[in-house]
């Protein structure tokens, strides 16, 4: 099975080609079926690969062919199958499959149906390449591929102005991050002479501390772009202009976790470069609480989820930073399920309301959308880290790791973020599903989504319930730890040996934080004590700061974009006057020469032929001269 690991991306690629070539003309609605079936097959193979890795094949490299071979520099198109990538393969394919099925219902009436599935298949292909790659360059192919698909899918409804502006923003910010990735990759090559994971990780010792730090910071900068961390996070909330399944798949479950995966994959490098891990942890923690505060005041249901995603990704980086990659990947997996579920649930609500996304116009929908309500309630619980749902186990591990790793400040930030998270989840759920309907017209027309959409919700909900306890129990020593052991066994990262009592206390504190947040939310929105409106008035400037998302977009526009504009203006002037001037002078020279030679061109073919014959005569004369010895003396 592992030798056939290439089939996993091959199926989505085939679906992409089939849908892309024949979708518009012939296949129409069948594009969705084809794409879903392809991803389903990939998921089956991924399960097989996972089981084989479980059976002991802990590290296999499957080489497809040599891609680049220049001197000593060899890059293969090869897959590295180890516990980390097999888990990622599993998560990506399974979540993708469910979302593909869901999309068949969600996008049913969209005239870009075939286009949607074409890009979505391409995305899955690129994501799988990213996950499977055994070197940084091939990973970069997938990295860029998912960026491209993200761009295409955010701008899916390009007839309206907002989506394509958002798509452009996402693309540019990703490019800025890619710049970091590229620098990291080039430096890796310069330092190690290879970009293959195994080569690099085995020879970490040959690099100086400064070089390693440079590489790690550069890669992490790339990761912040892809995973929407400070300072490159602001594209993700805007990316909600894309179709909801896209938000669920790309901007919650898979692509945005690529940065986490990159850092987890490069853990040997990060571990060897001490300061860079601290940077990762701090950035993650700051992003987590920063995004959580913004999520408190958003009214667009999808934007709440988007900021929540940013915040949760911050958690994952926090985990990486405190040296708990297993916890990070664990949270990545559980988050993929419950956040995809939250997004799909939001999509179901939006679908049921005919496109309305503003929570202020919802309310009381639990009676109209029972399946959506119950599944989302489970997912919300998981997000708020209530036991025994999946989010609890993974988040608890992160919080515990922060504390046990000796980072009390980060631990405090994480607990505070947990409170905020629980609060905004409660708020979103309440505003959407409880209370009195605030827009009766919308309420009358609301309807539950078809089975093709609700079944994936149920499946994801099942995952949300069982996943955490299945692989995360008991905490710190559960299945996931045993499985991902090789990832964590990196020099410089100590496996903690916590005492049971400590774990229980820490878990109790984080559960208490969640419950506190929920109670605060309930008291504010159910009993209006204190009244949310009053709170926002009282908070005054702070509230405005939050609603305007800390004015980050404005800051970027004012400071960075304007400065770039000025710099580009200067370069443009240089280009026009100096470079173009030079080229124009040269062109003028050629033109002048040409026009003076133009007279020879009579346009009569015979004249040209005559000159050829004259040339022949010349050649003969010269040849004869040589033969006779005229020129040799």
């Amino acid at each position: 099975m592992i030798q056939n690991v290439w089939l996993i991306p091959a199926f989505p690629l085939a679906a992409f080609l089939i849908d892309g070539l024949f979708g518009r003309r012939w296949l129409h609605k069948w594009t969705g079926v084809i794409a879903s079936a392809a991803v389903g097959l990939s998921a089956l193979i991924a399960i097989g690969v996972f089981l084989e890795v479980l059976g002991g094949q802990t590290r296999t490299t499957v080489t497809l062919y040599e891609w680049i071979g220049v001197g000593d520099f060899h890059i293969n198109v090869a897959a590295l199958v180890d516990p980390l990538s097999s888990v990622m393969l599993l998560v990506v394919t399974v979540v993708s499959f469910l979302i593909f099925v869901y999309s068949n219902g969600y996008m049913e009436h969209d005239h870009g149906f075939h286009r949607f599935f074409t890009w979505l298949s391409l995305f899955v292909f690129a994501m799988l390449i990213l996950v499977m790659a055994d070197n940084y360059l091939l990973m970069f192919v997938g990295w860029e591929g998912v960026g491209l698909c993200s761009y295409l899918l955010i701008g899916f409804w390009f007839e309206r102005p907002e989506p394509y502006v958002a798509a452009k923003k996402a693309f540019v910010m990703n490019r800025i991050g890619d710049w970091g990735y590229t620098i990291g990759m080039i430096t890796t090559f310069l330092v190690f002479g290879s970009v293959q994971f195994t080569d690099v990780f085995e020879h970490v010792g040959i690099a100086t501390q400064a070089n390693l730090t440079l590489i790690c910071i550069a890669f992490f900068f790339g990761a912040t772009g892809k995973s929407a961390q400070l300072p490159l996070y602001s594209w993700l909330p805007d990316a909600m202009e894309g179709p909801t399944p896209v938000s669920a798949l790309i901007h919650a479950a898979t692509m945005v976790t690529a940065g986490v995966y990159l850092v987890a994959r490069s853990m040997p490098l990060f571990a060897a470069a001490g300061p860079s891990l601290a940077v990762v942890g701090v950035v993650g923690a700051v992003t987590a609480i920063f995004a959580a505060t913004i999520a408190l005041v958003q009214f667009d249901i999808k934007r709440v989820m988007a900021y929540s995603t940013v915040s949760q990704l911050g958690y994952m980086f926090l985990a990486l930073g405190v040296g708990a990659p297993v916890a990070a990947i664990f949270h990545l997996a559980t988050h993929a399920f419950f956040k995809a579920l939250l997004f799909l649930g939001s999509g179901s609500v939006i679908h049921g309301l005919g496109g309305e996304q503003d929570m202020r116009k919802m309310g009381g929908l639990r009676r109209k959308l029972p399946v959506t309500y119950w599944t989302m309630l489970l997912a919300g619980g998981a997000l708020a880290a209530l036991p025994p749902l999946a989010g609890f186990w993974s988040k608890d591990e992160i919080v515990a790791a922060a504390f046990l790793g000796g980072y009390p400040v980060l631990w405090a930030v994480a607990i505070l973020t947990a409170v905020l998270t629980a609060f905004y989840v409660t708020r979103a759920m309440w505003l959407t599903f409880h209370g009195e309907p605030r827009d009766h017209h919308l309420y009358e027309h609301a309807h539950e989504s078809p089975a093709v959409m609700t079944l994936p919700l149920v499946a994801l909900a099942a995952g949300t319930v069982v996943l955490g306890i299945a692989i995360g129990f008991p905490p710190e020593t559960g299945f996931i730890h045993r499985f991902l052991g090789p990832v964590a066994q990196v020099e410089g990262i100590a496996e903690h040996a916590p005492e049971a009592a400590t774990i229980l206390v820490l878990a109790a504190i984080s559960v208490a934080a969640g419950v506190l947040g929920i109670l605060a939310g309930l008291s504010m929105y159910v009993r209006h004590r204190p009244d949310p409106a009053a709170v926002s008035r009282a908070a005054g400037p702070f509230y405005r700061l939050l609603v305007n998302k800390y004015f980050v977009d404005e800051l970027y526009d004012r400071r960075i974009v304007d400065a770039l504009h000025a710099a580009f203006g200067a370069m443009w002037a240089f280009d026009v006057h100096v470079i173009d001037g030079l080229a124009n002078r040269l062109g003028w020279l050629a033109a002048a020469g040409g026009s003076s030679l133009r007279r020879a061109q009579t346009g009569i073919v015979g004249n040209y032929a005559l000159t050829i014959v004259a040339g022949l005569l010349l050649v003969l004369v010269v040849y004869g001269g040589y033969a006779a010895g005229f020129f040799t003396r």
Partner: protein
């Protein structure tokens, strides 16, 4: 006396080739030129037979007489022109051309006589097998390339001549 047959045939063919070739250039009617050209081709095929290359001779007739001459006749028939005075018959550069071409022709013809038959070549057999071996074994790839060239020329010719709206 049998020994004289070959030189005699050669003489006849040479006279026919030179005369007909000159006729192609000098004839005032274009159809005459075309027919004389076909006649030249036939005589060259005769030369090939004299050289013992009968396969090439056959292809020469098949392609030049059977195809190219007919094609040129088509060209002649599709581009009718009213008769024109003999003064406009040659290009204005005819004296320059004569001045250049005649000396070169004389030089080259004289050089040509310096080639001697190689001593080892005796009576060779027909050229069917050597030709086939060369084309389909040693030169198989150039042969395929040539066929692609022919295809491209065919497509190009069709595109050039095709009218826009039918």
């Amino acid at each position: 006396m049998l020994d004289l047959i070959e030189p005699a045939l050669f003489a006849v063919l040479t006279i026919a080739i030179v005369a007909a070739g000159a006729g192609v250039v000098l004839a005032n009617r274009i159809t005459t030129s075309a027919l004389l050209m076909a006649f030249t081709f036939l005589n060259i095929a005769g030369m090939f037979v004299l050289l013992g290359a009968e396969t090439v001779a056959m292809f020469q007739v098949l392609i030049y007489v059977g195809a190219i001459t007919v094609l040129i006749l088509y060209g002649v028939m599709f581009t009718p022109q009213s008769p024109r005075p003999y003064g406009l018959f040659f290009q204005t550069q005819k004296y320059w051309a004569a001045l250049l071409v005649v000396p070169i022709a004389i030089i080259v013809a004289l050089i040509a006589f310096s080639f001697r038959d190689s001593a080892t070549v005796g009576a060779k057999g027909g050229d069917l097998l050597p030709l086939a071996t060369s084309v389909f074994r040693d030169f198989a790839f150039p042969f395929e390339v040539a066929s692609v060239l022919l295809l491209a020329a065919m497509v190009g010719a069709i595109v050039l001549v095709k009218r826009d709206e039918d």
